[in-house]
Symmetry: C2
């Protein structure tokens, strides 16, 4: 503990106490599309104020804060984007992430965190009986649309875990498809694969748009409904379960996995994608922190460790389960064989 060598410091306390301020600053800059304006060459306070229809003082204070927070650079009174901001916050960049804020700051989640004390007391979401997990919740449409730039690479890496020849006639099911990218990447890799996306109807529209854009729409079908309720069909070679299990209790996950097991061919595989913390649950940072999001947003969701996931799949009849990193994403894929 290098801490022992120095005076106690309140820096972390104050930094954390004002964490919400940084969030609001980023949100406001994205709302005003300030980063795109700077990328387009507006670099001074008067130019930016005019473009963003704001007061010069407001823009100056906002931009200076963004410099301190690491999003902008300032030289001789002119603001410039950092390389990261140019990649992720200029609306013209293909990796633009600004839209993700709409999902990350959706009222359901914000309300969940505002009621965090109640969630800790209760051991689950304090917002409603089951938080985000409702068909009428349109947050998932937002999510499906805004996560595309982040999910393309993990989806590609996940598709590469399917150990079949390129001309295999795969029958694939994508459970809670969302943006659909995981299934779509399988369709792109296997030219004869038939992919069925399962999700709520309003979310499936996004998956279908993305299948169209990827040129695989003619091999993309859909099942609308709740994965726990609907008929999955049968004879699948691959069932994808990306970012789904963490919303539910281990028991509910087990029910779904048994259903998936029945829907698979004898040599089929289930392919889940999850944030998997180490057994001690405090590393790596993102998967470890993800457990909190599930606490505030779901009744019984969890960031499951590898030993929990392995037990869950084994309990459902899968005999050989392996975990695979998907760098640079903080998620892992789980490949489970019958």
């Amino acid at each position: 503990m290098s801490n022992a060598a120095r005076m106690p410091s309140p820096d972390l306390f104050f930094d954390t106490a004002s964490g919400y301020v940084r969030t609001e600053v980023l949100r406001t800059a994205v709302e005003l599309d300030l980063f795109s304006a700077i990328a387009a060459g507006r670099q001074t306070v008067p130019e930016l104020a005019r473009h963003c229809e704001s007061a010069e003082k407001g823009i100056r204070v906002l931009c200076d804060y963004l410099v301190v927070a690491g999003f902008l650079l300032k030289q001789q009174g002119r603001y410039m984007l950092t390389p990261d901001s140019a990649t992720f916050l200029d609306r013209k960049s293909p990796a633009y992430l600004g839209g993700v804020l709409t999902f990350l700051h959706t009222p359901t989640l914000r309300q969940g965190y505002a009621n965090l004390t109640a969630a800790v007391r209760k051991g689950g979401t304090a917002v409603s009986a089951d938080g985000l997990m409702k068909v009428e919740n349109t947050d998932w449409v937002q999510f499906a649309r805004s996560m595309v730039p982040m999910m393309a690479m993990p989806a590609q890496l996940t598709a590469q875990l399917i150990d079949r020849p390129a001309d295999a006639k795969l029958k694939v099911l994508d459970i809670a498809a969302g943006h659909g990218l995981f299934g779509i990447e399988v369709a792109k890799r296997f030219a004869d694969a038939q992919v069925t996306g399962l999700d709520w109807p309003n979310v499936l529209e996004v998956a279908q748009e993305n299948a169209q854009r990827a040129g695989v729409a003619q091999r993309y079908r859909t099942i609308a409904g709740d994965a726990f309720e609907v008929e999955l069909g049968e004879g699948y070679d691959v069932v994808l379960i990306p970012n789904f299990l963490h919303h539910f209790s281990a028991q509910r996950c087990g029910e779904l996995l048994r259903k998936v097991h029945r829907a698979l061919e004898p040599d089929g595989i289930a392919l889940a994608v999850e944030f998997i913390p180490d057994e001690e649950r405090v590393s790596p940072p993102f998967p470890a922190m993800f457990a909190l999001a599930m606490l505030v947003a779901t009744a019984q969701g969890e960031a499951y460790t590898w030993s929990q996931l392995d037990a869950m799949f084994k309990g459902a009849g899968f005999s050989r389960n392996t975990m695979h990193a998907l760098p640079p994403s903080a998620e892992h894929a789980v490949v489970a064989r019958k």
Copy 2:
């Protein structure tokens, strides 16, 4: 720019986007008095859940997040305080800071930040005509009570800037005294000093309590009211103006400083305490970021640079102004002579 050498990373974006989550986690831990419970030897999830009247799952997820966020350590399933948390977050510690959250997260400020986009467009607070600056606002009583542990050291250092013999019969005015510590430290250093604290009546009660506690109550008087409106009196050797000017426009500050100038003896000094950013306004971090707090909470407040403060004092008749660091605080004192 070491950035050029690496792949673009969305880490800062996601870290900042979830800054508000860290804030809520800290707030909840303080609300549940979790840190004090750990300090008192409750180190396991079941012990802490029982003590904090919470679900075991809630406590486990909260504590794991606090480990990732740097407030706790975890070894073999037991949680421990870091040295910083032991100093600042155990309610039994004299340096306990948990109470500061009540002020930092006061609804007025939170509402101000929630309306940050509107404040940027307008160039000042979007919450009310003048945000926090209202006599009926009880936030300042909270602030006065909770800031004592943080303010003791800067107040001592400020008192040491008064270059008079220890037995000088100083007549001292403390404008917007708040907790009263700046005036009280002068009274402690100069045994014959008479100190008058000026503030709103409800805040003055806190200053008087602190004067009592410091054993200087018999040399502590008060003037209740608004510093811009009331008679200050005259013949002062020292007028303290701690953390006050930043709430107002340069013009309003000038009016107050002229009033202070008239109230001082010919060899008297004004002693202001301020967050003073460098002329480029993007360093040091805390004073640079402080400008945003003034944007959201006041109509025309500002984190003034040294050249602005010097001009302000000179315009009010002060001829020799100097700036003094108050480490480890991020504030500076300004000594202004007639």
